[in-house]
Protein backbone atom coordinates (compact mmCIF):
# COMPACT_ATOMS: atom_id res chain seq x y z
CA UNK A 1 0.00 0.00 0.00
CA UNK A 2 1.21 3.45 -0.87
CA UNK A 3 -0.54 6.78 -1.37
CA UNK A 4 -3.56 6.88 -3.70
CA UNK A 5 -1.55 8.68 -6.38
CA UNK A 6 1.19 6.05 -6.34
CA UNK A 7 -1.32 3.17 -6.20
CA UNK A 8 -3.18 4.52 -9.18
CA UNK A 9 -0.40 5.62 -11.51
CA UNK A 10 2.67 3.53 -10.74
CA UNK A 11 3.75 -0.08 -11.25
CA UNK A 12 4.45 -0.86 -7.65
CA UNK A 13 6.16 -4.14 -8.49
CA UNK A 14 8.94 -1.96 -9.99
CA UNK A 15 9.30 0.23 -6.88
CA UNK A 16 11.41 1.37 -5.16
CA UNK A 17 13.00 2.83 -8.28
CA UNK A 18 16.74 2.59 -8.93
CA UNK A 19 17.46 6.34 -8.83
CA UNK A 20 20.06 7.36 -6.26
CA UNK A 21 19.15 8.52 -2.73
CA UNK A 22 17.99 12.15 -2.98
CA UNK A 23 17.68 12.14 -6.80
CA UNK A 24 15.11 14.74 -7.85
CA UNK A 25 13.76 12.54 -10.63
CA UNK A 26 11.42 10.69 -8.24
CA UNK A 27 9.86 14.01 -7.26
CA UNK A 28 9.48 15.10 -10.89
CA UNK A 29 7.98 11.74 -11.92
CA UNK A 30 5.38 12.17 -9.17
CA UNK A 31 4.72 15.71 -10.49
CA UNK A 32 3.85 14.26 -13.90
CA UNK A 33 1.40 11.80 -12.29
CA UNK A 34 -0.08 14.59 -10.16
CA UNK A 35 -0.61 16.77 -13.24
CA UNK A 36 -2.37 13.91 -15.07
CA UNK A 37 -4.52 13.28 -11.98
CA UNK A 38 -5.39 16.97 -11.56
CA UNK A 39 -6.55 17.14 -15.17
CA UNK A 40 -8.68 14.01 -14.72
CA UNK A 41 -7.26 12.42 -17.89
CA UNK A 42 -8.35 8.90 -18.79
CA UNK A 43 -5.21 6.92 -18.02
CA UNK A 44 -5.86 4.70 -21.03
CA UNK A 45 -5.51 7.79 -23.23
CA UNK A 46 -2.09 8.75 -21.88
CA UNK A 47 1.14 7.50 -23.39
CA UNK A 48 4.49 8.05 -21.72
CA UNK A 49 7.47 7.98 -24.09
CA UNK A 50 11.06 8.12 -22.88
CA UNK A 51 14.52 7.92 -24.41
CA UNK A 52 17.69 6.82 -22.66
CA UNK A 53 19.32 8.04 -19.47
CA UNK A 54 18.39 8.37 -15.82
CA UNK A 55 15.26 10.37 -16.72
CA UNK A 56 14.04 7.75 -19.11
CA UNK A 57 13.72 5.05 -16.44
CA UNK A 58 10.42 6.79 -15.65
CA UNK A 59 8.61 4.98 -18.47
CA UNK A 60 9.22 1.70 -16.65
CA UNK A 61 7.70 2.88 -13.39
CA UNK A 62 4.61 4.72 -14.60
CA UNK A 63 1.47 2.64 -15.09
CA UNK A 64 0.25 3.91 -18.45
CA UNK A 65 0.91 2.72 -21.97
CA UNK A 66 4.63 3.42 -21.98
CA UNK A 67 7.51 3.03 -24.37
CA UNK A 68 11.20 3.23 -23.49
CA UNK A 69 12.91 4.04 -26.77
CA UNK A 70 16.42 4.69 -28.10
CA UNK A 71 18.80 7.46 -27.13
CA UNK A 72 17.58 10.87 -28.23
CA UNK A 73 14.68 9.46 -30.22
CA UNK A 74 11.82 9.68 -27.73
CA UNK A 75 10.32 12.66 -29.56
CA UNK A 76 10.57 10.83 -32.91
CA UNK A 77 8.67 7.83 -31.51
CA UNK A 78 6.18 10.16 -29.83
CA UNK A 79 5.60 11.95 -33.15
CA UNK A 80 4.65 8.62 -34.74
CA UNK A 81 2.29 7.72 -31.91
CA UNK A 82 0.60 11.13 -31.97
CA UNK A 83 0.16 11.09 -35.76
CA UNK A 84 -1.32 7.58 -35.67
CA UNK A 85 -3.70 8.37 -32.79
CA UNK A 86 -4.08 12.13 -32.36
CA UNK A 87 -6.64 11.63 -29.57
CA UNK A 88 -3.96 10.39 -27.17
CA UNK A 89 -2.15 12.60 -24.68
CA UNK A 90 1.48 11.91 -25.50
CA UNK A 91 3.97 12.89 -22.82
CA UNK A 92 7.70 12.61 -23.45
CA UNK A 93 9.95 12.20 -20.43
CA UNK A 94 13.53 12.90 -21.42
CA UNK A 95 16.77 14.22 -19.98
CA UNK A 96 18.98 17.19 -20.77
CA UNK A 97 21.42 15.06 -22.77
CA UNK A 98 18.72 12.92 -24.40
CA UNK A 99 16.63 15.96 -25.43
CA UNK A 100 19.21 18.60 -26.24
CA UNK A 101 22.32 16.72 -27.40
CA UNK A 102 21.61 13.27 -28.83
CA UNK A 103 18.02 14.21 -29.71
CA UNK A 104 18.59 17.90 -30.34
CA UNK A 105 17.38 17.80 -33.93
CA UNK A 106 14.27 15.83 -33.08
CA UNK A 107 13.51 18.41 -30.40
CA UNK A 108 13.85 21.48 -32.60
CA UNK A 109 11.90 19.99 -35.49
CA UNK A 110 9.06 18.82 -33.23
CA UNK A 111 8.97 22.40 -31.92
CA UNK A 112 9.01 23.76 -35.48
CA UNK A 113 6.03 21.57 -36.40
CA UNK A 114 4.22 22.48 -33.17
CA UNK A 115 3.03 18.90 -32.81
CA UNK A 116 0.87 18.35 -29.71
CA UNK A 117 3.41 16.63 -27.45
CA UNK A 118 4.30 17.54 -23.87
CA UNK A 119 8.05 17.29 -23.43
CA UNK A 120 9.03 17.08 -19.76
CA UNK A 121 12.81 17.36 -19.39
CA UNK A 122 14.23 15.92 -16.18
CA UNK A 123 17.24 18.23 -16.30
CA UNK A 124 20.00 17.14 -13.91
CA UNK A 125 22.70 19.19 -15.67
CA UNK A 126 24.86 16.13 -16.34
CA UNK A 127 24.93 12.63 -17.84
CA UNK A 128 24.19 10.72 -14.64
CA UNK A 129 23.71 7.18 -15.89
CA UNK A 130 27.07 7.00 -17.65
CA UNK A 131 29.11 8.54 -14.85
CA UNK A 132 28.94 12.33 -14.83
CA UNK A 133 29.99 13.63 -18.25
CA UNK A 134 29.07 17.29 -18.86
CA UNK A 135 25.86 17.86 -20.80
CA UNK A 136 24.40 20.73 -22.87
CA UNK A 137 22.92 22.19 -19.67
CA UNK A 138 25.99 21.93 -17.45
CA UNK A 139 26.64 25.54 -16.42
CA UNK A 140 29.82 27.15 -17.79
CA UNK A 141 32.75 26.61 -15.43
CA UNK A 142 31.20 23.61 -13.70
CA UNK A 143 32.89 20.24 -13.54
CA UNK A 144 32.12 16.83 -14.98
CA UNK A 145 34.19 13.69 -15.51
CA UNK A 146 34.84 14.96 -19.06
CA UNK A 147 35.43 18.52 -17.85
CA UNK A 148 38.06 18.01 -15.14
CA UNK A 149 39.27 21.63 -15.49
CA UNK A 150 35.79 23.11 -15.78
CA UNK A 151 33.33 23.22 -18.66
CA UNK A 152 34.09 26.01 -21.17
CA UNK A 153 30.84 25.53 -23.13
CA UNK A 154 27.92 27.90 -22.74
CA UNK A 155 24.80 26.01 -21.69
CA UNK A 156 21.44 25.74 -23.45
CA UNK A 157 18.45 27.59 -22.02
CA UNK A 158 15.95 24.85 -22.95
CA UNK A 159 12.71 26.88 -22.85
CA UNK A 160 14.34 29.63 -24.94
CA UNK A 161 15.64 27.02 -27.40
CA UNK A 162 12.18 25.47 -27.73
CA UNK A 163 10.50 28.85 -28.11
CA UNK A 164 12.92 29.94 -30.82
CA UNK A 165 12.32 26.68 -32.66
CA UNK A 166 8.53 27.17 -32.61
CA UNK A 167 7.13 25.56 -29.44
CA UNK A 168 3.92 27.17 -28.20
CA UNK A 169 4.24 26.57 -24.44
CA UNK A 170 7.43 26.67 -22.40
CA UNK A 171 8.31 26.94 -18.74
CA UNK A 172 10.73 25.88 -16.07
CA UNK A 173 10.11 24.15 -12.75
CA UNK A 174 12.37 22.55 -10.17
CA UNK A 175 12.41 19.54 -7.89
CA UNK A 176 11.80 21.90 -4.94
CA UNK A 177 8.90 23.88 -6.44
CA UNK A 178 6.37 21.05 -6.62
CA UNK A 179 2.98 22.83 -6.96
CA UNK A 180 4.38 25.28 -9.52
CA UNK A 181 5.98 22.48 -11.55
CA UNK A 182 2.79 20.39 -11.50
CA UNK A 183 0.86 23.42 -12.79
CA UNK A 184 3.35 23.96 -15.64
CA UNK A 185 3.05 20.31 -16.67
CA UNK A 186 -0.76 20.59 -16.55
CA UNK A 187 -0.66 23.69 -18.75
CA UNK A 188 1.74 21.92 -21.08
CA UNK A 189 -0.62 18.97 -21.45
CA UNK A 190 -3.57 21.31 -22.07
CA UNK A 191 -1.72 23.30 -24.72
CA UNK A 192 -2.58 22.12 -28.21
CA UNK A 193 0.92 22.15 -29.57
CA UNK A 194 4.49 21.42 -28.55
CA UNK A 195 5.04 22.17 -24.89
CA UNK A 196 8.41 21.96 -23.18
CA UNK A 197 8.78 22.04 -19.42
CA UNK A 198 12.39 22.23 -18.24
CA UNK A 199 12.30 20.57 -14.82
CA UNK A 200 15.54 21.26 -12.96
CA UNK A 201 16.31 18.15 -10.93
CA UNK A 202 18.95 17.54 -8.30
CA UNK A 203 21.74 15.01 -8.90
CA UNK A 204 23.66 14.73 -5.64
CA UNK A 205 25.64 11.71 -6.86
CA UNK A 206 27.34 13.21 -9.92
CA UNK A 207 26.57 16.86 -10.63
CA UNK A 208 26.38 17.74 -6.95
CA UNK A 209 29.46 15.81 -5.87
CA UNK A 210 31.60 16.99 -8.82
CA UNK A 211 30.68 20.59 -8.04
CA UNK A 212 30.68 20.52 -4.24
CA UNK A 213 27.00 21.41 -4.08
CA UNK A 214 26.43 19.38 -0.91
CA UNK A 215 23.62 16.94 -0.23
CA UNK A 216 20.27 16.60 -1.98
CA UNK A 217 18.80 18.75 0.80
CA UNK A 218 21.44 21.46 0.21
CA UNK A 219 20.75 21.38 -3.54
CA UNK A 220 16.99 21.73 -2.99
CA UNK A 221 17.55 24.60 -0.53
CA UNK A 222 19.63 26.28 -3.25
CA UNK A 223 16.66 25.98 -5.62
CA UNK A 224 14.35 27.39 -2.96
CA UNK A 225 16.65 30.34 -2.21
CA UNK A 226 17.72 31.23 -5.76
CA UNK A 227 14.64 30.75 -7.91
CA UNK A 228 13.06 33.88 -9.37
CA UNK A 229 9.68 33.84 -11.06
CA UNK A 230 9.78 34.72 -14.76
CA UNK A 231 7.38 37.65 -14.23
CA UNK A 232 9.69 39.21 -11.66
CA UNK A 233 12.77 38.33 -13.67
CA UNK A 234 11.42 40.36 -16.60
CA UNK A 235 12.03 43.56 -14.61
CA UNK A 236 15.47 42.54 -13.31
CA UNK A 237 18.84 43.37 -14.88
CA UNK A 238 21.28 40.78 -16.17
CA UNK A 239 23.51 41.63 -13.22
CA UNK A 240 20.69 41.04 -10.71
CA UNK A 241 19.85 37.71 -12.35
CA UNK A 242 23.41 36.40 -12.14
CA UNK A 243 23.43 33.09 -10.25
CA UNK A 244 19.62 32.98 -10.14
CA UNK A 245 17.33 30.32 -11.60
CA UNK A 246 14.39 31.76 -13.52
CA UNK A 247 11.30 29.56 -13.14
CA UNK A 248 7.63 29.71 -14.11
CA UNK A 249 5.79 30.09 -17.39
CA UNK A 250 8.03 31.57 -20.09
CA UNK A 251 5.97 31.53 -23.28
CA UNK A 252 2.46 30.70 -24.47
CA UNK A 253 1.07 31.35 -27.94
CA UNK A 254 -1.43 29.68 -30.26
CA UNK A 255 -0.28 28.41 -33.64
CA UNK A 256 -1.59 25.73 -36.02
CA UNK A 257 -0.95 22.26 -34.62
CA UNK A 258 0.69 19.60 -36.79
CA UNK A 259 -1.70 16.64 -36.47
CA UNK A 260 -4.69 18.93 -37.07
CA UNK A 261 -3.00 20.38 -40.16
CA UNK A 262 -2.17 16.86 -41.33
CA UNK A 263 -5.82 15.81 -40.94
CA UNK A 264 -6.91 18.83 -42.99
CA UNK A 265 -4.50 17.77 -45.72
CA UNK A 266 -5.93 14.22 -45.72
CA UNK A 267 -9.43 15.63 -46.05
CA UNK A 268 -8.36 17.99 -48.83
CA UNK A 269 -6.63 15.41 -50.99
CA UNK A 270 -9.06 12.63 -50.12
CA UNK A 271 -6.52 10.06 -49.04
CA UNK A 272 -6.39 7.49 -46.22
CA UNK A 273 -9.95 6.19 -46.59
Amino acid sequence: MASRLIDEYFRQSKLPHIWCPGCGHGILMRDVAQAIDNLGLDKHKVVIVSGIGCSSRAAGYMDFDTIHTTHGRAIAFATGIKLAKPELNVIVITGDGDAAAIGGNHLIHACRRNIDLTVVVFNNNIYGMTGGQYSPTTPTGDFGTTAPYGNIDLSFDLPALAQAAGATYTGRGTAFHVPQTVKLIENGIKNKGLSLIDCVSVCPTYYGRKNKKGSAVDMMKWQRDNAVDAKKAASMSEEELKGKLVIGEMYHREKPEYTAEYQKLIEKVGGAK
Binding site: A2, R4, I6, F176, V217
Partner: protein, 68 residues
Amino acid sequence: MASPTKKLCVKPEWCKGCGICVAFCPTETLELKNGKISIAKPESCVACGMCEMRCPDYAVYLTEEGDN
Protein backbone atom coordinates in the same frame (compact mmCIF):
# COMPACT_ATOMS: atom_id res chain seq x y z
CA MET B 1 -1.67 19.61 16.68
CA ALA B 2 -2.32 16.49 14.65
CA SER B 3 -4.72 16.78 11.74
CA PRO B 4 -8.21 15.54 12.63
CA THR B 5 -8.77 13.92 9.23
CA LYS B 6 -5.44 13.01 7.71
CA LYS B 7 -3.02 10.38 8.90
CA LEU B 8 0.72 10.36 8.29
CA CYS B 9 2.02 7.04 6.96
CA VAL B 10 5.54 5.89 6.20
CA LYS B 11 6.93 3.11 4.07
CA PRO B 12 10.49 2.58 5.36
CA GLU B 13 11.17 -0.26 2.92
CA TRP B 14 11.11 2.28 0.07
CA CYS B 15 13.15 4.91 1.97
CA LYS B 16 16.74 5.59 0.86
CA GLY B 17 17.49 7.96 3.73
CA CYS B 18 18.09 11.16 1.73
CA GLY B 19 16.60 13.30 4.53
CA ILE B 20 14.59 15.62 2.26
CA CYS B 21 11.36 15.00 4.22
CA VAL B 22 13.09 15.66 7.54
CA ALA B 23 14.65 18.89 6.25
CA PHE B 24 11.44 20.37 4.81
CA CYS B 25 8.99 19.28 7.54
CA PRO B 26 8.00 22.56 9.23
CA THR B 27 7.18 20.94 12.57
CA GLU B 28 10.09 18.49 13.05
CA THR B 29 7.69 15.56 13.01
CA LEU B 30 9.99 13.26 11.05
CA GLU B 31 13.43 11.80 11.71
CA LEU B 32 15.77 9.23 10.22
CA LYS B 33 16.22 6.18 12.39
CA ASN B 34 19.02 3.83 11.29
CA GLY B 35 18.93 5.63 7.94
CA LYS B 36 15.20 5.15 7.35
CA ILE B 37 12.20 7.43 7.76
CA SER B 38 10.46 7.35 11.11
CA ILE B 39 7.74 9.45 12.74
CA ALA B 40 9.34 11.04 15.80
CA LYS B 41 6.40 13.19 16.95
CA PRO B 42 3.09 12.15 15.39
CA GLU B 43 1.21 14.69 17.50
CA SER B 44 3.04 17.63 15.90
CA CYS B 45 2.08 16.75 12.29
CA VAL B 46 -0.07 19.44 10.68
CA ALA B 47 -0.75 17.35 7.54
CA CYS B 48 0.74 20.02 5.27
CA GLY B 49 2.06 17.40 2.84
CA MET B 50 5.49 19.00 2.37
CA CYS B 51 7.09 15.59 2.98
CA GLU B 52 4.85 13.69 0.60
CA MET B 53 5.28 16.10 -2.31
CA ARG B 54 9.09 16.09 -2.05
CA CYS B 55 9.88 12.49 -1.09
CA PRO B 56 11.67 11.13 -4.18
CA ASP B 57 10.86 7.56 -3.11
CA TYR B 58 7.17 7.85 -2.12
CA ALA B 59 8.04 6.57 1.36
CA VAL B 60 5.91 9.10 3.27
CA TYR B 61 2.34 10.16 2.59
CA LEU B 62 -0.95 11.30 4.07
CA THR B 63 -4.16 9.32 3.93
CA GLU B 64 -7.68 10.23 4.83
CA GLU B 65 -8.56 8.61 8.16
CA GLY B 66 -10.33 5.39 7.32
CA ASP B 67 -8.18 4.75 4.22
CA ASN B 68 -5.17 2.61 4.81
